[in-house]
Symmetry: C2
Subunit: 236 residues, 2 copies
DNA sequence: CTGTTTCTAAACCATATGGTCTAGATTGCC
DNA sequence: GGCAATCTAGACCATATGGTTTAGAAACAG
């Protein structure tokens, strides 16, 4: 284990939960069952941000379900501060969308309140040691969601009747340059051909892609995975 | 456990590895230490695809590092077939990029060859039961990579000196229509203003975005999170 | 009230772009 | 050899696009 006694430093923690009873419950739990140091607590996200700036803790336990400013936004803000603070999301729901969003904005862990206290301690320990911790059950949910959102995109992109497949090599080169916002003249120079030849290619491209102008051609190309067919989009 | 004896069905498995010794090693391991049914094996991805179509297994163990057609491409193809086959990636490397790409294209698990045999069996079991399984260590790596790629995009997108921020509301509306490949005339009709007004707006947009034509403006907009600033790109 | 910003719109002009047709050279295939 | 596809390139024309300037109306801030 890399966290041998010689390296062990009591991780300093701030807990945020709008429910005061939960808050003190978690605080006590941590103080009794671990050797972490709860330096502060907060019942609102805005207060929490100030406390974080002041105390610079290693770990923040953040309840996601809070009125006013919600936990996700708070996590995003904390990440933006870039203080090296590692945040663990704490919530009652294993909603895949919540998990996905939390991990996306930079949460280093995600724990359900219903989980055993030992698991909470373990999670804090892992995250304090630089790892990212997501319990297997939540991890599984995350990936289902993750893959689903990709699948929809990929299908749209790698279709057989992608009109881009009908382009000749030269036409692809021309389109490639068009997607960089280069004029016909520029394309002609880059490819060492005359401008009229470029125009011929472009017209053929338009017909093959069934569009009327360069902007539409570029949009078609980008939306159908032309430039680097290995790129896709994901909704946050 | 949901997989009580009454529901247990011997999962049928196909193993793919270009190294024949590894292949038979894994096969034996599974046959001895579990009650899964290895219905076929293959030493190349193309053969594997045929076998999968023929046997319709529940699980495919796919080596990622293969010559000719690599495992990732194979997994993508299998997913495209949409036969309900669940694929587990098997490799020697815990390269985060590999893990990310494998999970993105739809692998339901990712196991290192160096891992204990019990873990392989466990993974197969989990995946056969409809879950997605990624060992904690790999999961951690995945998320680091995942978050890093998001962080870069988010920074690029939500930058203060994003020239898009200088656009007025009307200019944004015009640009929005431009990014849909609509002509000036079309924009004018949609916004109920004259074509010359559109031109004025467009010219202002060009100056603010420091570009010379609509294609470049559209590209700038797309690359800087104009359309739906909550969308980002990730490389597979 | 005055200056600023934004949205509107026109005139004028130059050039880039798009549509269509024709055609030679090259390559590869049957 | 001959056909098909591809890349090349020109002519010709219509229109869309881009650059610049000017200017009125409305909203808003100081």
């Amino acid at each position: 284990m890399r966290r041998g006694l010689e390296f062990k430093k009591k991780a300093r923690i701030i807990i945020v939960d709008d429910n005061y009873e939960h808050l003190s419950g978690i605080k006590e739990l941590i103080e009794i069952e671990s050797d972490f140091d709860v330096v502060a607590t907060a019942t609102s996200a805005s207060v929490a941000i100030s406390l974080i700036k002041k105390y610079r803790p290693e770990i923040v336990l953040m309840d996601i379900n809070m009125p006013e400013k919600d936990g996700l936004t708070a996590i995003a803000e904390i990440e933006k501060l870039d203080l090296g603070v590692r945040t663990i999301a704490l919530t009652g729901y294993d909603d895949p969308d919540l998990i996905f969003r939390a991990m996306k904005i930079g949460a280093k862990g995600y724990i359900l309140k219903t989980m055993a206290s030992a698991q909470l301690i373990y999670a804090i320990d892992e995250v304090a040691n630089g790892k990212i911790y997501l319990p297997a059950a939540l991890s599984s949910r995350f990936f289902e969601y993750f893959q689903k959102s990709f699948k929809e995109e990929v299908q749209a992109v790698s279709d057989e009747d992608n009109l881009l497949n009908y382009l000749t090599q030269r036409e692809e080169e021309v389109l490639d340059l068009l997607t960089q916002g280069i004029t016909y003249k520029g394309v002609a120079q880059k490819l060492f051909i005359s401008e009229t030849t470029v125009k011929t290619h472009v017209n053929n491209i338009f017909q093959k892609l069934q569009v009327n102008d360069r902007t539409q051609a570029v949009l078609y190309a980008l939306n159908n995975g032309f430039l680097n067919r290995r790129k896709v989009k994901i909704a946050i």
